[in-house]
């Protein structure tokens, strides 16, 4: 009996000693293994935050798209070992046929016997149904086990090309590439770290009621300063002009000069982030911020402003413009409109290089350079955007020699970006203060709490208020009479602006090319109290290259849209066609029509048809096409309708159709389809 007791004690002793080896000896290694096991299962990323324009219209959203994965251990459970190859082949063939993938590869995945492997990501609803028919919905004896269909976030850009280069795209691994998706990836991506240890052995999220609100882990939403309507018009006009003049590229920047908010940031060529694989890197670059060009004549407005500020010139004086030819050192400077004596406004109106050079030379190298720096040239704007170029004021990294000072004064020999142009023009427009450019108005959590919000911020005062007013008035002369920028005039408004037609340097020869130009127009409107400053740049227009002919019309169209959206009515009626006004009673209507066009006849999220009054007790059905189900339900309920949902994904059809007037509490059928 004692012997047996001893044996038992020995056994327990063995267990304890094995425990010692296991837990003290190798404990650290086991713990590490256990931890890595828990982390390895974290394959589903939290929902990425959305990007919205200033009015809350979705520019980029993440939708759940089904993906199918395989638990090979589950699939082969209970299969006798000699039958495994047969079963694996049969299952692989069935799965491959449904998903349209290589059967041999599926077979390898099954035989690898891992508990988790993706079979195909982002499958269609049809494929998901077929997979379910093979697994969960199949009769027990023919069921393929271990097939898991679960939702996975897919990035969807409901407005397609709209603001494509600005937004960028998201790679399949969930990381943002290019544009804001890249620059603000950390905000958008959400926090996967917090999910640690909350997944079980099949990789499923546990405690679903605890985090039913998976918004706790979801990424932040971005609310941009961009206005979808202006953005659309800017892109549309830019594209039309670029096509007409066979330009290689171009960009439009629209800024609210009083706040520094970027209202539109268009770039050509553009791309559709939904199909980013079919685009070239060239198309995905945002040219407004990454392309550096020689501005040419548009720079003269800053030269004149700097000259007035430093006192080298006065607003009322006249300057001698050398009859169109001037020699500096061994370089000859020419004017396109040879003149003798010109007032300062005339210098801008006819765009005299010689007089601008004289003002620059009068100020001296360091003062002119310093003035340009104060306008923000030669430095990054500070926007959250990867790949922004600072531009180059001193290309040889030394003070300018005399001829360089002269040419810098009329915008040659220096490099700027269109963004800098717009911000500098905005500084003249708002009375002389350089604003900090704002692109992201608000960042909020998916639950709606504000993470950070920006407010207008003055960088510095660049020129005194009276100088700014004077330059503004001078710039109005450019668009009036026989100025170079008459094409920019919006009926009923006084437009201040400056054209530019800069020669491009041929990279092969290092000299100015004879047929490659950059046409530009920079200006703001209304001149006396500007609400919008716009910089337009067209790269290498072919048929016509004068800024006044190529770029100014784009300015006009964009400005028109911005003014209408702002609800302004023309102040001076002499140029206004009453009939036109009569046809367009409500600016919101025009914006709406433009938007309809922007979306390929698919109106945006919040727009309700703004025509006709609705009698009490009746409700007009909003157009919810392209809107995610949850948001649509919310809106429907808010206005007192009862929504019914069919399908999943984004809304494609509504019954009754949008715009119909129905009784409050009526039922509305929303038909959804996955966004593919």
């Amino acid at each position: 009996m004692g012997m047996l007791c001893g044996l038992l004690a020995l056994g327990l002793g063995l267990v304890v000693s094995a425990g010692w080896d296991l837990m003290i000896g190798d404990g650290a290694a086991w713990r590490e293994l256990a931890e890595s096991q828990r982390q390895r299962r974290l394959h589903v990323a939290p929902k990425r935050g959305g990007v919205y324009d200033r009015n809350g219209s979705a520019l980029a959203v993440s939708v759940e798209v089904p993906s199918v994965s395989l638990d090979a251990v589950e699939l082969l459970r209970g299969v006798p070992s000699q039958q495994v190859p047969v079963v694996a082949r049969q299952a692989a063939n069935a799965i491959a046929a449904v998903l349209g993938i290589d059967a041999a590869q599926v077979e390898r995945r099954i035989l690898a016997k891992h508990r988790f492997a993706w079979l195909k990501r982002q499958i269609s609803a049809l494929e998901a149904d077929k997979i379910r028919a093979l697994s969960a919905d199949a009769p027990e004896d023919r069921r393929i086990h271990g097939l898991v269909v679960e939702g996975e976030g897919r990035r969807y850009y409901p407005r397609r090309e709209l603001a494509g280069p600005l937004l960028g795209f998201v790679a399949p691994d969930g990381e943002g590439k290019d544009g804001l998706e890249y620059a603000l990836n950390d905000d958008l991506k959400g926090n996967a770290e917090q999910l640690k240890g909350l997944r079980d052995r099949s990789g499923r999220l546990l405690f679903s009621d605890g985090i039913e609100d998976d918004r706790a882990f979801a990424g932040h939403n971005l609310y941009l300063t961009i206005d979808q309507g202006i953005q659309y018009v800017a892109e549309h006009e830019l594209q039309a002009a670029a096509r007409t003049f066979e330009a290689t590229g171009g960009s439009v920047v629209v800024v609210n000069p009083n706040t520094g908010e970027i209202l539109a940031l268009a770039s050509f060529p553009t791309f559709n982030p939904n199909d980013y694989t079919e685009s070239q890197p060239e198309q995905r670059r945002d040219r407004a911020m990454s392309d550096v060009f020689e501005p040419g004549s548009t720079m003269k407005m800053f030269t004149v402003a700097a000259g007035l500020t430093s006192g080298v010139i006065t607003p009322t004086q006249k300057m001698y413009c050398e009859k169109g030819v001037m020699q500096i050192d061994n370089v000859t400077i020419r004017d396109t409109h040879p003149s003798e004596w010109l007032t300062i406004p005339q210098i801008l109106a006819v765009s005299s290089n010689i007089c601008a050079a004289k003002i620059g030379l009068g100020m001296g190298e360091s003062k002119l350079y310093e003035a340009f720096r104060r306008f923000g040239f030669g430095q990054e704007s500070g926007l959250p955007f990867a790949g922004e170029a600072p531009g180059t004021l001193r290309p040889r990294s030394r003070p300018w020699v005399q001829v360089e000072t002269a040419s810098a004064a009329f915008g040659q020999g220096i490099g700027v970006t269109n963004m800098q142009m717009a911000m500098a023009a905005a500084a003249i427009a708002n009375g002389g203060e350089l604003m900090e450019p704002l692109l992201v108005r608000k960042v909020s959590t998916s639950a709606g709490e504000v993470v950070r919000e920006v407010s207008p911020h003055v960088r510095r005062r660049v020129i005194p208020k009276d100088v700014a007013r004077a330059v503004s008035e001078m710039l109005v002369a450019v668009t009036e009479g026989d100025g170079t920028g008459t094409e920019a005039v919006v009926d009923g408004y006084r437009v201040a602006g400056k054209t530019g037609t800069a020669q491009k340097t041929d990279p092969k020869t290092g000299r100015y090319s004879i047929d490659k130009y950059i046409a530009s127009f920079v200006g703001f409107v209304p001149a006396e109290k500007p609400i919008v400053a716009i910089a337009v740049t067209i790269d290498e227009p072919m048929v016509e290259h004068a800024g006044g002919a190529v770029a100014a019309p784009i300015f006009r169209h964009v400005a028109q849209m911005a003014l209408k959206l702002a609800g302004l009515t023309p102040k001076t009626s002499d140029h206004t066609d009453v009939a036109v006004l009569a046809r367009t009673p409500d600016p919101a209507n025009i914006a709406y029509e433009a938007l309809r066009e922007a979306q390929g006849k698919k109106p945006a999220v919040q727009e309700v048809l703004a025509t006709g009054a609705v009698s009490p007790g009746k409700v007009r059905i909003p157009n919810l096409t392209g809107v995610p189900a949850r948001q649509a339900m919310k809106q429907m309920i808010e206005i007192g309708l009862t929504p019914h949902i069919a399908g999943s994904g984004l809304i494609v059809t509504q019954q009754p159709p949008p715009g119909s007037v129905v009784d409050a509490k009526s039922e509305v059928l929303l038909i959804l389809e996955p966004a593919t």
């Binding site: 009996m1 004692g2 047996l4 007791c5 038992l8 004690a9 056994g11 327990l12 063995l14 267990v15 304890v16 094995a18 425990g19 010692w20 296991l22 837990m23 003290i24 190798d26 404990g27 650290a28 290694a29 086991w30 713990r31 293994l33 256990a34 931890e35 096991q37 828990r38 251990v73 082969l76 006798p80 070992s81 016997k113 891992h114 508990r115 240890g197 997944r199 079980d200 052995r201 546990l206 405690f207």
Partner: protein
């Protein structure tokens, strides 16, 4: 009332129970409830949408277990003798019933028998029934135990029959425990060592046959040998279990902080020791082993001091049952042995196992009433004179019978023969 009091007589010349044993059993019960909660909360939430699903049940079983311990410890074990065959018969019937398909499958094995809403695991009860039957039979055949045909064969046949029923369920672990119990009790009763060695060899052959020619067992065995290769499939459970143990290190992650419950199947039943290892560390496992060792030691002490051979055999059998179950469970969880379905006595989730353990502990405690009080009895006879049983009864039975009239409460007073305190025959001497 009288029937109950009669049933719960502790017997005339009985002392108090072994307080150490009782305390450890109660402590383990409580510890079990805590650990079951800690290891089941996730499964309970996910599957049953109620985090306390298993806690409530185990708490209920533990309360039941406590009452069973209390009642059986007051039930004179000597009165179990006439119940031996009824118990055995009932258990055998239940085993057969569960084998022929009345069983309720769980985890691919038909180990449960559903009687109304109650699910019983007959193989758990078989262990205790076999101990009682062996003790009864061995005591009866006292002198003839050394002979093969009378002392050995009937016991082997009975045990073998139960084992085959176990294997059919299939419950390899239960069968092994039955074999070990038979082996040790025969050994203790003084069977010939030669026969026992032969039996051991036969048993091993039988085990090898059972493993080799049952494909799933054989595959599991192979997987156990090549654990790292099969860590994703057949050896998934033992591998995860070892991982749980290992990640506990010295002090563990802390109660309720273990995360291996996400990966370890059956974490609250057979593999609860792995979660104990993870959450309480080596210290916790050491303490647990010490507790089982002390239980076995106190049990053996009880067996040695029991007043008759019957009590001695039962006490020993029950001690071995506890010890072997705990030992095999821990060894399996640490992957020193291939996977078997054995619970950790008093700790694992499960009503059948818990209640059978409680009953066994109650019987052991009842035996300890006479054993632990060997000295007490002497002191009674010297100090109190000729009426030890009455005074002993007064101490603890005041609630059942008025002190003034003890005699009417026991109409069937023990016969003089039974009253004669037999010198406890030490099994050692018997050999």
């Amino acid at each position: 009332m009288t029937t109950i009091t009669r049933l719960l007589t502790r017997g005339p010349d009985r002392g108090p129970v072994d307080i150490v044993l009782a305390a450890l059993a109660v402590a383990l019960l409580g510890f079990g409830v805590v650990m079951v909660y800690s290891s089941s909360v996730i499964e309970a939430t996910v599957v049953f949408k109620d985090p306390q699903y298993f806690l409530k049940r185990q708490g209920f079983y533990a309360l039941g277990g406590l009452s069973v311990i209390f009642l059986t410890s007051r039930f004179d074990y000597r009165k179990l003798r006439p119940l031996t065959y009824p118990i055995m018969g009932l258990v055998t019937l239940m085993m057969i019933a569960s084998v022929i398909g009345l069983g309720h499958s769980g985890g691919g094995a038909a180990r449960w028998l559903a009687i109304g809403p109650v699910h019983i695991q007959p193989s758990e009860t078989a262990k205790l029934a076999l101990v009682l039957w062996l003790a009864y039979s061995l005591e009866k055949k006292r002198e003839r135990v050394r002979s093969f045909s009378i002392g050995m064969l009937p016991h082997l046949l009975m045990a073998g029959f139960l084992m085959i029923l176990c294997l059919k369920q299939p419950d390899f672990g239960g069968a092994s425990v039955l074999l070990l119990l038979t082996f040790t009790l025969l050994f203790v009763a003084g069977a010939r060592l030669g026969y026992l060695l032969g039996l051991a060899m036969l048993g091993s052959l039988f085990a090898v046959w059972a493993v080799r020619f049952t494909s799933y067992r054989w595959e599991r065995m192979l997987a156990w040998f090549n654990m790292s290769e099969h860590r994703q499939d057949l050896a998934y459970q033992p591998f995860q279990s070892v991982m749980s143990f290992g990640s506990g290190k010295l002090f563990g992650l802390g109660l309720g902080k273990g995360l291996q419950v996400l990966y370890l199947p059956e974490a609250h039943t057979d593999f609860i020791s792995a979660i104990i290892g993870e959450e309480l560390g080596f210290i916790g496992i050491l303490a647990l082993c010490t507790v089982y060792l002390v239980i076995v030691a106190r049990g053996v002490r009880t067996a040695l001091a029991a007043e008759d051979e019957y009590g001695s055999y039962i006490a020993f059998g029950i001690s071995v049952l506890f010890g072997v179950q705990a030992l095999i469970n821990l060894a399996v969880a640490m992957s020193m042995l291939p996977t078997k379905g054995l619970t950790l006595p008093f700790v694992s989730f499960g009503g059948s196992s818990l209640l059978v353990c409680a009953a066994a502990m109650g019987i052991l405690l009842n035996i300890s009433r006479s054993s632990g009080s060997g000295n007490l009895r002497v002191s009674f006879s010297t100090a109190r004179g000729p009426e030890p049983e009455a005074s002993a009864m007064l101490v603890t039975e005041a609630s059942f019978a008025p002190a003034t009239s003890p005699a009417p409460a026991y109409p069937k007073s023990p016969t003089p023969k039974q009253r004669q305190p037999r010198p406890p025959p030490s099994p050692k001497e018997a050999r």
